[in-house]
């Protein structure tokens, strides 16, 4: 899959954050600078990029990058 495209969405929503920190974050709170606005940005960027409105689970165990990637794969939005 085009991981660069997905990571661009995350770095657009979390500017200034190292992609490694994004990829390894265990939940959204673990991404530096994360707040509710960053989450909204991520939803909007994903919507614009993949034409999809994702429901992000409100769970401390939801790994943001892997979780979104899995969602997109399951819905056939990325090869």
């Amino acid at each position: 899959m085009d991981e660069d495209r997905l990571m661009r969405c995350f770095t657009a929503a979390f500017p200034g954050v190292d992609p490694t920190d994004i990829k390894e974050a265990k939940n959204f709170d673990a991404i530096p600078g994360s707040d509710s606005l960053r989450l909204v940005n991520l939803l909007a960027v994903l919507d614009e990029e993949y034409d999809v409105e994702i429901e992000l689970p409100d769970s401390p165990d939801f790994k943001p990058y892997d979780g979104v990637k899995q969602y997109l794969l399951q819905h056939g939005l990325i090869p």
């Binding site: 606005l37 989450l39 909204v40 919507d47 614009e48």
Partner: protein, 491 residues
């Protein structure tokens, strides 16, 4: 970058920055951005920020002022992310470095990143932009556009002529050390575009990304712009933008803005019909009645026959309210109100301490200490002074004190150490008030998040409750107040 630095990387620099009201006014004069969130104190007081916000593009200008472009080179692309609101008279630090050929500046409030600016440079070809000498700008709008909901959609567009106020732009660029006026022009123009036109008044500009082109011929005295919304969703819009001199593009790229939704006026349903006469003859004082929960409580009590007096810093939504305009911690305001109540009513049955300062995230670190202390002092005063001033009136009869606290005292919010501390303190005041005045009945209310102006941020209303529901529960409890000498917690 500085002379001697390579384009690939450079050592980080650090500079202290403070924005003043004069800086904000100069930016407004140069750019034509007159959005009231930045300039109108009374307007800003009714927003979650509680005070005027410094233009994000002014913050970006301060960052770009640290960029030194080598001779023969110019800025080819620029971007900025406005991550947190910036305020006057706060000490910020700008840290800069160049990594892999990308220059980056970060504006910090203590450890909190407020703004991130980036630029790439390339060979300079073409004519640099110079500010026009006269001091008149060309701005299509003198008042910020207030869009209809239908306008917040893909395809909405705008266009027109634009020119910065040349004298103000030159002063601005000089003050912040911005050598390249094309950067200053781009920031001024985009601030005007987003703050005044698209979307206009409800804008919260949060990102820009531009390519800059040098014109082949001297730029015309008046530029033209076009902008079109290419995405709208999740309370934000993305706008494709272009600024041109004749046929020459100068700036092209995108701007992103949140669109603050209007806060619904507290519904008048309860006051338009009489619920009961259970509070007929009763007299109440409520602090912070201009809108939100205070206004809702006032309506709920009036609907039950109570005579309600309010204290607020601005005119309330409901014109029927008997209001003293002023700060609820101002002793003169409180004395005037008490005298008025004595003259008109001779009694006080309910004191509802609802007023609280606007709430912004703060961190327990050196840069935040004074603001934390100021908030706590202000918040405690807004409950302490009314309690003390009305204590003798409250001793007559079976009076009831209501302290509006928050569920945050049980579930602290990480970004609100000041709010948690203040609410726990005002609850303590209510508790000791009950000990010192054992004939009083005391209710401490701990609401969760409410739909008010203070929570009117892009995500602030998610999971929020209507203040009318809380107000109704408070009114129903006051109809059957708890026993004297006890402190009851209500949610």
């Amino acid at each position: 970058m500085k002379p001697g630095d390579t384009q690939e990387s450079s050592v980080s620099d650090q500079v202290a920055v403070v924005f003043t009201e004069a800086d904000v006014e100069l930016f407004s004069e140069a750019s034509g951005d007159r959005n009231p969130l930045h300039l109108d104190r009374a307007y800003a007081q009714r927003t979650p920020y509680g005070q005027p916000v410094v233009f994000g593009c002014l913050g970006a200008l301060a960052c770009f002022g640290q960029l030194r472009v080598p001779s023969g080179m110019c800025v080819r692309s620029m971007a900025a992310d406005f991550l947190r609101p910036i305020f006057s008279d706060v000490h910020y630090e700008v840290k800069t470095e160049t990594i892999d050929g990308v220059w980056e500046a970060r504006l910090f409030d203590g450890s909190a990143l407020a703004l991130l600016a980036r630029a790439t440079i390339g060979a300079d070809s073409g004519i640099p932009i110079r500010p026009i000498g006269d001091d008149s700008g060309v701005f299509q709008h003198a008042v910020a556009n207030v869009p209809h909901a239908a306008e917040i959609r893909r395809g909405t567009s705008t266009s027109g002529a634009y020119r910065c106020n040349g004298a103000a732009l030159a002063a601005l660029a000089r003050h912040w050390g911005v050598d390249d006026h094309q950067i200053a022009t781009a920031l001024c123009w985009s601030s005007y575009l987003v703050g005044m036109e698209l979307p206009g008044e409800p804008a919260l500009f949060f990102r820009l990304a531009f390519e800059l082109q040098r014109p082949a011929t001297p730029p015309s005295s008046c530029l033209r712009y076009r902008a079109s919304t290419t995405y709208a969703g999740f309370g934000q819009i993305k706008i494709e933008v272009a600024l041109e001199s004749g046929d020459s593009p100068l700036v092209s790229g995108h701007c992103w803005s949140y669109v603050r939704p209007p806060v619904p006026v507290t519904e008048d349903a309860d006051s338009s019909r009489v619920v009961s006469a259970s509070m007929a003859g009763k007299v109440a004082v409520i602090t912070g009645t201009s809108r939100g929960l205070g206004a809702a409580i006032a309506r709920a009590l009036e609907a039950r026959g109570a005579t309600v007096y309010g204290i607020s810093r601005s005119q309330p939504e409901a014109n029927s309210l008997r209001v003293e305009i002023g700060d609820a911690a101002n002793r003169e305001v409180l004395r005037l109100l008490k005298q008025r109540i004595l003259n008109e009513q001779g009694r006080l049955d309910y004191l509802i301490c609802n007023a609280s300062p606007p709430l912004l995230p703060l961190t327990l670190e050196p840069n935040g200490a004074e603001r934390v202390a100021e908030f706590v002092k202000s918040a405690i005063g807004l409950t302490l002074f009314p309690l003390c001033e009305f204590s003798d009136l409250l001793e007559i009869g079976e009076a009831c004190v209501v302290i509006i606290s928050s569920v945050a005292v049980e579930t602290p919010v990480k970004e609100w150490p000041h709010y948690v501390a203040a609410k726990r303190a005002v609850e303590a005041l209510g508790t000791v008030m009950a000990l010192q005045h054992p004939q009083l009945r005391t209710v401490v209310v701990r609401p969760d998040k409410l739909i008010t102006n203070l929570t009117n941020t892009p995500r602030g209303h998610v999971g929020a409750e209507s203040p009318k529901l809380i107000a109704r529960r408070i009114a129903e409890r006051l109809e059957n107040p708890p026993p004297a000498g006890k402190v009851e917690i209500q949610y």
